[in-house]
Symmetry: C2
Subunit: 341 residues, 2 copies
């Protein structure tokens, strides 16, 4: 690989000039620029990213940490990631995927992170990843709010989880449903805590109690039940335990589909016997299902884009003030999986 000195020598200019030609931080004369570029092409020279980073202290990359225990993305994750990538590339940033293995490694981080900031998806209570960001002084934005001790302020993007659960419950209760089962996300995620609390609150406000068997949490990846969570819970509660359930709220598309299969195997129908409401539902997947699934549009792509934008503000790439905690709109998309009883 050719280096800057080689170019400087052949173009009969100094290193600094070559640097300026590429970085465009200072003007250069046309003549010199042409010469430098010509020699660079000839030598197949490009500035060394690492050396540049060492002095600018910018890696031009942001980290994207995928949540604990959800290694198999749902459409929500996919859309979210798309939003992040697109927005980041807009500012010249790349995205470094970051997976924290469930089994914590002995030496978590034997080196600093080669990133300028991070987007943390779906934090858990006392999320270790966030403590590390905090300690490492790495600017970060979470999707879902932070519940770590010692961390007071931090940027976040989220939907209004309380409003979401209230809307869903209201929607179902207005249609006569009282026995609503909630298949929540993994219980470690703060967003699932928010939603559970709001679910109970919404039910209580209408004078309805929530029995313990009406709320379930997705097991984590290590569990053998991970993939068939929706199926298992539905078979267990509706089939084996014969509990009365007229509506099921499913956290994501996979869970919902899994529930559909269980309902079929129980010789029940949707929405005739059971209504289904999906929280994180991708439009194209909801539509293709039979019946099509009523869901909440959480705008995952917008969540991703917004989180990057906040990060860019923190990094000083985007100027001006910015809201530390942004709420992205969400609304009900009515399809054919909920009926009135």
């Amino acid at each position: 690989m050719a280096k800057i000195d080689d170019v400087a020598r052949l173009a009969k200019v100094s290193k600094g000039t070559v640097s300026n030609v590429f970085s465009q931080k200072r003007p250069t004369s046309n003549e010199v620029r042409e010469r430098v570029m010509s020699v660079s092409r000839q030598l197949n020279y490009v500035p060394n990213h690492t050396a540049r980073s060492l002095v600018t202290k910018k890696t031009m990359a942001i980290g994207l940490t995928i949540p604990h225990g959800s290694f198999f993305f749902s459409a929500f994750h996919t859309q979210f990631i798309n939003g992040v990538i697109l927005e980041a590339s807009y500012y010249g940033y790349r995205v470094l995927l970051d997976i924290i293995p469930l089994q914590q490694v002995k030496t978590p981080f034997l080196t600093s992170y080669p990133i300028d900031g991070a987007v943390v998806m779906r934090p858990t209570t006392n999320d270790e990843r966030i403590n590390l960001m905090h300690m490492g002084q790495i600017p970060f934005v979470t999707v879902g709010h932070v519940m770590n001790e010692n961390i007071e302020h931090s940027s976040s993007v989220d939907n209004d989880n309380q409003q979401i659960m209230f809307s869903i419950c209201e929607y179902l209760m207005d249609r006569g449903h009282k026995d609503i089962m909630f298949l929540n996300a993994n219980e470690l995620m703060t967003v699932s805590i928010d939603r559970r609390d709001s679910f109970i609150k919404a039910m209580n406000e209408r004078g309805l109690d929530v029995a313990e068997h009406m709320i379930h949490h997705k097991p984590d990846l290590s569990s053998s039940e991970y993939l068939d969570y929706g199926y298992e819970e539905t078979m267990n509660i509706l089939g084996k335990q014969k509990k009365k359930v007229t509506a099921i709220i499913a956290d994501d598309d996979r869970t919902a589909f899994s529930v559909l299969n269980a309902i079929k195997d129980l010789n029940l129908s949707v929405p005739g016997d059971i209504s289904i409401f999906v929280i994180c539902g991708d439009h194209s997947m909801m539509v293709q299902s039979n019946p099509s699934l009523t869901s909440m549009d959480l705008q995952p792509s917008e969540l991703g884009a917004q989180s990057v934008r906040i990060l860019m503000h923190q990094l000083g790439v985007l100027p001006g003030d910015f809201a530390e905690n942004v709420i992205v709109e969400s609304k009900i998309i009515e399809r054919n999986s909920c009926s009135t009883i």
Copy 2:
């Protein structure tokens, strides 16, 4: 941020010793190690990744280039990415997501890539990304074979596309289907060329011609028809043009679902009137569909893992010889979307 000198001073050792404690490239006495680690914790010191990279010439990251024109992942991509990430993390490597915008930027790369190697998904003919890797001397592995001029040898992982198409055609023809429509992937991808050729060959060998309207290619992202490709083509050929079609081969899950919707709107049924076969079908999605969709299991996760393994060989992380071109097994998973006529 504390640096290595600070630690060395406080621990009363030299820089070199601190370096050795962290890199473990040379043995150090217990006593010294303890002292260094203690001071490091106290100072919140971690080695600087960038500085380390500058001298080791390794970034410990691999690039993952997502294909042109398929910004919305299908389950195939998701599974593949999972395989890549998991396998890479096993070797201590991170994954840098790399999207090449459709609109080529004027200055494609004003800097070297901060990666040690790359996995290139679904290359196109004369894929520009591959030329860049080639020029930049970056080791890479493609998923699907390379069709670039000037590039003779290159590592790749793939399924046996010819065998796949022959198996599918045989499967359908054995059930009496002669009028098979193929909704292929984007025509730029080499894998779609392989499959198209094999499709025609398989049909011809049984004495069947393939009319032009029986093969279609997914438009690229910029097209407004991108999202509803399967729906549009089905409505057009079966509905508007009233062509005879008894079976449809869909490239991926989204296309298949989209086809299902069209068939429903045409008041036809699956598999009664039309049989459907999916090439890249995610199990959990195929199963949930009604009827469940017969598909090929391409083992995307295994494709991902294998591609990383080959890359690790190229990088010298994994010792020994290795096959340059690996074929991953694929087999038909029979479900309920194909019938005999």
